[in-house]
């Protein structure tokens, strides 16, 4: 069976991929997807700890509870975020962050 470290390693990898995507990509949808990736990385960490920090052969369910909350909130967030992106596209005809500089100008 894979150890806790390999889970954490994968989770960290996911997080780094997500973060670099958020920082480097210009397309808001991709940025958004990378954000979801970072959330998944966090979820993976939580589940891994829940599995390995169990007591009496049972996993720690409170971590899994938190994961469900995160997924729920993330789903809601995705709904709102996508709606905003659609509205943004309608207003500006673009979803590239470079061109969204109304506040700066």
């Amino acid at each position: 069976m894979a150890s806790l470290n390999s889970y954490l390693f994968v989770s960290g990898l996911l997080f780094i991929i997500g973060l670099s995507g958020v920082v480097m990509r210009r397309n808001i949808i991709v940025v958004f997807m990378c954000l979801e990736l970072m959330l998944s990385a966090a979820n993976l960490t939580l589940v891994a700890f829940s599995r390995f920090n169990g007591t009496g052969g049972l996993p720690d369910y409170s971590a899994q509870m938190l994961v469900f909350f995160v997924i729920t909130v993330a789903a809601a967030e995705v709904a709102v975020g996508l709606a905003i992106i659609v509205a943004l596209y309608r207003a500006r005809q673009t979803i590239h962050t470079d061109e969204l500089t109304a506040l700066k100008d």
Binding site: V23, R25, T97, K104
Partner: protein, 610 residues
Amino acid sequence: MLPWLLLLLPLCSAAVNQLYLKRNAFLASMLSVASVVVTLIVSFLLLGKTDGGPSYSWISIGDFQLPIQLKLDALSTGMMIVVTGIGALVHIFSLAYMAEDGAKARFFTCLSLFMFSMTGIVLAGNFIMTFIFWELVGLSSYLLIGHWYEKDSAADAANKAFMVNRVGDFGFLIGILLTFGLTGTFVFDDMKVGLNNFAALHPDLVGGLLAAAILCVFCGAVGKSAQMPLHVWLPDAMEGPTPVSALIHAATMVAAGVYMLFRVQLSLGAEAFEGVAGNAIAWVGGFTSLCAALMATQQNDIKRVLAYSTLSQLGYMVMAVGLGGAEAGMFHLFTHAWFKALLFLGSGAVIYACHHEQDIWKMGGLIKKMPITTLTFAIGTAALIAVPFVTSGFYSKEEILATAYAKNKILFGIAVFVAFLTTFYMTRAFVVAFLGKPRDHGSDHAHEVGPLMLAPLCLLALMAIGSSWLTKPLSAVDPRLIHHAEEHAEGHLLILGLSAAALVLGLLAGFLLYRGKDKDPIDLPLLQNRFYIDVVYEKGVVKLLQDGLAALIHFLDVWVINGLLVGGSARLSQSFGNLFRRAQAGNLQGYAFLLGIGVVLVIYFTTFWN
């Protein structure tokens, strides 16, 4: 409460005039005259009293108490008679003299303000009050010299008087603080005790500090009483209306310096004036009286002649104070105030009659046109040149000469020479202005002034003869006054002889040189130009010092204040703003990156940083 009435009545009059009667010149002048007449009556009632009425606590910090209190003794009540008496006569004279002036209400408001401030100096019970009222007389003097401020010369003279006095007052303030350091109190009555305590604690320090304190206090008197080298403002102050010159710049305010010195001498004890401080004061006084008398011999403006004569007589008084004979100085102050006010008001009447002509060489023959004015002016002149036995000036000048004879023979010689010069220049002015034949249109058409002007002149003429017999209250201040006369009885005849000789010589020289002349037979540019002292001030102090200082301050203002402080702080915040503007690039990824860095740093520090 009577002493407080003395102080507050002129203040109320000034306030009411300023607030309600600006447009009603007649009522304003009447109110001022009424207030000064009432104060004159009150000062007569207060003669001989020593109860200053209630005092009010003004500042109280820990042990330090500063009350507002009035001090009544023979000195201050005697001085009040001079101030209110001459004040009343000058007010009445001004009713006629300023009758057609456009700003009569303002004039009388300022006169009332002056009466208030002068009363304050005389009655002040502590040094701080003296200083406050000292500045207030400076202010009212400024306002009154600049009464005709449309004239540039009057405005300049007012400024000059104010600024020259600042120089003296700076020293005065230091002197007051030094005195406080020595005695631990500002109240005149407690100074002697405080000084003795200090002397017991620091016997080696007290002499030098005391001399320094007295000399600094004397600086104030140098400014206010126009002693060398700060005398330059007084002749220029003659730009003001003549009644003002009579009241402020001859009789009362300029004498305040001498009064204050005497007050200090009474408070600290006459011993304090022995040594360096007293000598310096005496020499400044003697030097001033000599130089001023020399300058007076070559002036052509009748008021300037009188102004320099005032300087010279003030020099006498200061010299007497410095020689430890402050009683003699005060006695001369008392008599001089009356006859100098008389001379100034007389000159005012003459100037008024000659259509504001002040040059004595354009007058002449006035004895026929204005007999009463001439008579009163002659009496004033007689008092000033100290005609023996019949005039008040004789007794007081004798007293000063006796003091000088006893203490310092060189100063005595100077004083006798000044007496000769005084006789000479007064004879000159009198002969040129009143005798002979009219030299100009104005003096040709002059005629006697009205009764409102003549009445004060006649009363003052009476005082010029009789005031020496009214000084009983003054001699009560210090019984040493009588001792002085007895002590030096052996020199008495010599002094009398010398002063009589100075008088006769001066009269002869004046008559012989100036009788029937149409222009000045003597021509001494050095004296006409007042030893070039004004030029030195103009070129040296004003040009170099003031303009240099102005350039320096301008540099500081433009570069340090404006460039560095104001502009610098603006530029600093601007450049900070520019710097931080870079961070606000509007780049979403940039923000996210910074956020990520921030989170990493927070985690790093919370985890690995103890």
